[in-house]
């Protein structure tokens, strides 16, 4: 038997693995929130695996939905604990982003702090209060953490796939919900799910899923503007749309700088958003060229969409 001492901090050769970090991160986030009396619900991730709401897979982030009234305070509390905001996407953010992404250089995962979830168009405080009232507990990293009810999780899991409907993983996970989860739901649960979507103003955004549940004639519950915003979000052109809108809102004299920032971000910012870029200047240059080509192509594709919807 080897000598068990000393125990070592996770660093150097003993770095945390992603799945370890995600599990421990759940307990950490929940603990900070609880210590400060902030309501926080851990969502998605390993809890979806536990609930058999998707094929088991490793998650790369900790997702937490925080009381909207205290989300910013919560983010500030994490700062002295070395969790800081990931640099904002240099393409700009005209449309609201749905989470603040926190990173810690010693941890191989982000903490995504949400105060609402895309596709739920009701007042975010009302949505959170309902989800909190329905909460359950899950055990992650041998700690109990507050999380969504089963039906709440189904709504979030479905929306997660529906907001990116053409991605392979979304297609697979939505099919899993349809084929494996829906058949397990009782009639009462189906009715309650519909009621939840109604309260959350998510009937239209959840329509493909609700139709699979057997509900026909789903009512429209979005305004014209909200509907367009959702359609843009679920298209693959969201980021380009955001940038074009920001570009249009920028004074002429500042536009060259904006273009430079979008196409030639600083090396550190570029690597932060493209962590797979190999080390070395040549690799960085090659990655930059690919990025510029892709971004210009995306802008060209998005321009007509932007022209039709620029007043959103």
């Amino acid at each position: 038997m080897n000598n068990p001492a000393p125990i070592t901090r996770a660093h150097g050769d003993e770095r945390l693995l992603v799945h370890e970090a995600v599990a421990l991160g759940h307990a950490f986030v929940s603990s900070v929130a609880q210590d400060h009396g902030i309501r926080a619900l851990l969502i998605k991730g390993p809890i979806l695996n536990q609930l058999n709401l998707r094929e088991p897979r490793a998650s790369s982030d900790v997702d937490v939905l925080v009381d909207p009234a205290r989300r910013d305070e919560f983010v500030l509390l994490l700062r002295p604990l070395l969790w800081v905001e990931r640099p904002v996407d240099y393409s700009g953010k005209a449309l609201p982003t749905h989470a603040i992404h926190l990173i810690n250089e010693s941890w191989p995962c982000d903490i995504d702090v949400h105060d609402h979830y895309p596709g739920l168009f009701a007042d975010k405080q009302a949505v959170f209060d309902r989800l909190w009232n329905d909460r359950t507990l899950a055990t992650v990293a041998n700690q109990q953490v507050p999380t969504l009810s089963l039906l709440g999780h189904i709504v979030i899991a479905a929306l997660h796939s529906l907001r990116d409907p053409t991605a392979g993983r979304s297609v697979r996970e939505l099919a899993f919900l349809n084929d494996r989860v829906i058949p397990m739901l009782s009639n009462e649960q189906r009715t309650e799910l519909l009621s939840l979507c109604k309260q959350f103003r998510a009937l239209e955004t959840m329509r493909p899923f609700l139709t699979g549940l057997g509900f026909a004639g789903i009512a429209r519950d979005l305004t014209a503007v909200e509907r367009k915003m959702w359609l843009i979000r679920i298209s693959d052109q969201q980021q380009s749309f955001r940038w074009l809108r920001r570009f249009a809102d920028t004074p002429l004299t500042e536009r060259p700088a904006l273009v430079r920032q979008a196409l030639f971000p600083p090396g550190t910012a570029f690597r932060a958003h493209h962590p797979a870029t190999p080390s070395g200047k040549v690799a960085l240059l090659e990655a930059r060229i690919s990025f510029i080509v892709a971004r210009v192509a995306a802008l060209k594709r998005s321009y007509s969409l932007y022209r039709r919807n620029r007043r959103l």
């Binding site: 038997m1 080897n2 000598n3 068990p4 001492a5 000393p6 125990i7 070592t8 901090r9 996770a10 660093h11 003993e14 945390l16 693995l17 799945h19 370890e20 970090a21 599990a23 421990l24 307990a27 950490f28 603990s31 900070v32 210590d35 400060h36 509390l77 002295p80 604990l81 070395l82 010693s106 992650v140 990293a141 041998n142 700690q143």
Partner: protein, 97 residues
């Protein structure tokens, strides 16, 4: 036979504010919302002790079981086991049950 007369032969349990995972190796995190806290990675022997602590084993239980499993004398491993558990206790990771 290793004697435990020189210290109280307590059993220990994980402190309530400790999260841990075991996916082949044990990684432990002290949940502290007042200061940065990095996880501890236990080496394989430390992991073995940690798992047995979850069953409320006393120090003498630990020594006896580990000696049997690794075919070593209890006297040979007792100081290391005791030292390790003491370190866990000082780190706030375990408490006396």
């Amino acid at each position: 036979m290793y004697q435990v007369s020189s210290f109280v032969d307590s059993s220990y349990c994980t402190a309530p504010n400790v999260a841990w995972v075991d996916s082949g190796r044990v990684v432990v995190l002290l949940l502290d919302s007042t200061a940065p806290s990095a996880p501890f990675v236990l080496n394989p022997s430390g992991g073995e002790i940690w798992r047995r602590l979850q069953r409320n084993a006393t120090i003498s239980d630990l020594v006896r079981e580990l000696a049997l499993e690794y075919s070593v004398s209890e006297d040979a491993i007792a100081p290391s086991v005791r030292s390790f558990v003491t370190e866990l206790q000082h780190g706030g990771l375990v408490t006396e049950a």
